[in-house]
C-alpha cells in the first residue's frame, strides 16, 4: 500500500509539473499576444492617415497620363519639381481683383453639406455665405497680407493678395487673433501660442499647410522657413524682404497628420473654374515630400501587393517563435 501510495503521489507529481509548464507556456503566449497586439492605455494614438499614405504618413507617388496638368512634372524632384510647378501654376492663372474675391469666396468656401453656409477658416464656424461688408466674415489671408511683399493692396488690384487659394472666409474675431502670426505647434482648437505664433486647429492644419506650399511655389519671392527669429521680426513687414512664413517643418508634419479633405478638393475645383489654376499639393500631396523632404519617387512608390493584417500577424508570431 505504502509503495502504491508512493507511486500515485509520484505520478500526480509528474503530471502537475507538466501541467504547470503548459500553463506557463500558454500564459506566456497570451501575454505575448496581448503585449504585441493590444494598444496600451497610455500609448500615443496612431495618426489616422488616409489610404493614400503609408504607415509613416508619406503620400504614395501617383503616375498620371499626359492629359493631367501635372504631367510635365513627372519624374522630377527637388528644385526642378518646384520650378516646374511654378510654371504650371502660373501658366493658366488669371487672378480676379481683390474686390471680386469677396464674392468669389461666397462660392469657393461653401460647405459641402450646408449649401448656404461657408466653412469658416480655423474655427469651422458655419458662416452665412453672402458678403455683408465684413459684418459676418472677412477675407483672411492664410499667408498674411503683411508678409506678401506688397506695400499696396486695393479692391481694384489683381495681385498675389487676391489669389483665391490663399484667401479664406473667417469670422472677424479669429481673423484678428491670427493676424500676421506665423503658424506654430499646438493641438485641439485654434489659438495663439506662447512663442508668438498661431495654431490653426486640428481640422485646419493640413489645409493651411497646403495653401502655404502653393503660395511658396507659385510666387518665387515668398519664403518658407523654420527660423523663429526671422518669423518674429516684423520690421520688414510689407516689403519683399519680409515675405516669409512658417514654420516649414510643422507644415510638413501637418500635411501628413491632416490629409487632403473633400472640402479642399471641392474648393480646389471651384477655384480652378474661377482663377484657372489648381493647388497641386491638393491633387498631388506627394510633391511635398519630393520638394521639402528630400524623398525620391522610389521612396514613395506604393507596394504592389499589400500584406493582409492576418498574414502580417502570422509572420510576426512565427518570427517571434523562432526567436524564443
Amino acid at each position: 500500500m505504502a509503495k502504491r501510495t508512493y507511486r500515485k503521489r509520484s505520478t500526480r507529481g509528474r503530471r502537475s509539473v507538466k501541467q504547470q509548464i503548459i500553463s506557463i507556456l500558454v500564459l506566456a503566449v497570451l501575454a505575448f499576444l496581448v503585449y504585441y497586439f493590444l494598444p496600451e492605455e497610455n500609448e500615443v494614438p496612431t495618426p489616422s492617415y488616409s489610404t493614400y499614405q503609408n504607415e509613416e504618413g508619406f503620400y504614395y507617388y501617383q503616375s498620371v497620363g499626359s492629359e493631367d496638368y501635372t504631367y510635365d512634372a513627372r519624374n522630377l524632384i527637388g528644385e526642378a519639381l518646384m520650378s516646374e510647378l511654378n510654371t504650371i501654376t502660373n501658366a493658366t492663372k488669371t487672378l480676379i481683383t481683390y474686390g471680386d474675391a469677396r464674392y468669389a469666396l461666397e462660392t469657393v468656401d461653401r460647405d459641402l453639406t450646408e449649401a448656404e453656409k461657408l466653412w469658416g477658416a480655423y474655427t469651422s464656424t458655419m458662416i452665412n455665405a453672402v458678403w455683408d461688408a465684413g459684418d459676418t466674415w472677412d477675407r483672411e489671408h492664410v499667408w498674411p497680407n503683411s508678409r506678401l511683399g506688397l506695400d499696396r493692396i486695393s479692391n481694384t488690384q489683381r495681385s498675389i493678395a487676391s489669389d483665391l487659394h490663399n484667401l479664406r472666409a473667417a469670422t472677424g474675431s479669429i481673423n484678428s487673433s491670427k493676424s500676421d502670426r506665423f503658424f506654430s505647434s499646438g493641438s485641439g482648437e485654434a489659438t495663439i501660442t506662447d512663442d508668438g505664433g498661431f495654431y490653426p486647429g486640428d481640422d485646419h492644419r493640413g489645409d493651411v499647410a497646403r495653401i502655404l506650399f502653393y503660395m511658396a511655389t507659385t510666387y518665387e519671392e515668398l519664403v518658407l522657413t523654420d527660423d523663429l527669429e526671422l518669423l518674429l521680426d516684423e520690421t520688414d513687414h510689407y516689403t519683399v524682404e519680409g515675405a516669409r512664413m512658417g514654420q516649414l517643418s510643422l507644415l510638413i508634419e501637418w500635411h501628413k497628420l491632416d490629409p487632403v479633405s473633400d472640402f479642399e478638393k471641392a474648393r480646389n475645383e471651384r477655384i480652378s473654374e474661377i482663377q484657372g489654376n489648381r493647388n497641386p499639393f491638393i491633387d498631388r500631396p506627394e510633391f511635398v515630400h519630393l520638394i521639402w523632404e528630400g524623398k525620391t519617387i522610389g521612396d514613395l512608390e506604393k507596394p504592389v501587393a499589400e500584406t493582409s493584417i492576418q498574414t502580417h500577424m502570422f509572420y510576426v508570431l512565427m518570427e517571434r517563435r523562432w526567436m524564443l
Binding site: 465684413g134 503683411s146 506688397l150 499696396r152 486695393s154 481673423n175 484678428s176 508668438g196
Partner: protein, 135 residues
C-alpha cells in the same frame, strides 16, 4: 469702454496701425492681446476707446477686413490709434515710429478723429478709407 463716433487726440505722437504690429508677440503681452479681442468683439461695429491692462487706445474694424488702406496695413481687420508718449515705457508694445504699413502722426495741436462707415477721418484732412463704397 467708451463708444463714440469721434474722439479728440491731444498734442503728441500717435501710431495708426494694426494692433498686431503694436502689441509684441511675447508672453508678457499675450494677455493684453487676448483681452483686446475679447472686449472689442463684444461691440465690433463701434469705434471704441478701450483701456486694457493700462493701455489706452482707439480701435475700429475695417469695412473689408485684411488689406492696406491709405498706407495702413492690417492682418487683423482692425486699426488702432495709440499715443506713443503715454506708453513709451511699456515693454509689451513696439512703438517704433515710421514703420512701413503704419502711419505716424505728430500732432502739434489737438485734433479730432471720426469714424464713418469704418473710414477714419482726421481733422487735419488725413483719411483712411477702408470702405470701398466711399472710394
Amino acid at each position: 469702454m467708451d463708444v463714440m463716433s469721434s474722439y479728440t487726440l491731444k498734442k503728441g505722437t500717435y501710431l495708426v496701425s494694426d494692433p498686431a504690429m503694436i502689441i509684441k508677440k511675447t508672453m508678457d503681452a499675450r494677455s493684453l492681446y487676448e483681452t483686446l479681442w475679447e472686449v472689442f468683439y463684444q461691440n465690433p461695429k463701434e469705434f471704441q476707446q478701450l483701456i486694457i491692462e493700462n493701455v489706452q487706445f482707439l480701435i475700429t474694424r475695417t469695412a473689408e477686413g485684411d488689406g492696406i488702406y491709405n498706407g495702413v496695413g492690417t492682418d487683423s481687420g482692425t486699426i488702432m490709434i495709440i499715443s506713443v508718449d503715454d506708453h513709451i515705457h511699456d515693454e509689451r508694445l513696439n512703438l517704433d515710429l515710421d514703420r512701413r504699413g503704419m502711419l505716424t502722426l505728430r500732432l502739434d495741436e489737438e485734433m479730432t478723429v471720426e469714424m464713418k462707415r469704418y473710414n477714419l477721418y482726421f481733422s487735419n484732412s488725413i483719411q483712411i478709407i477702408t470702405n470701398s463704397v466711399d472710394l
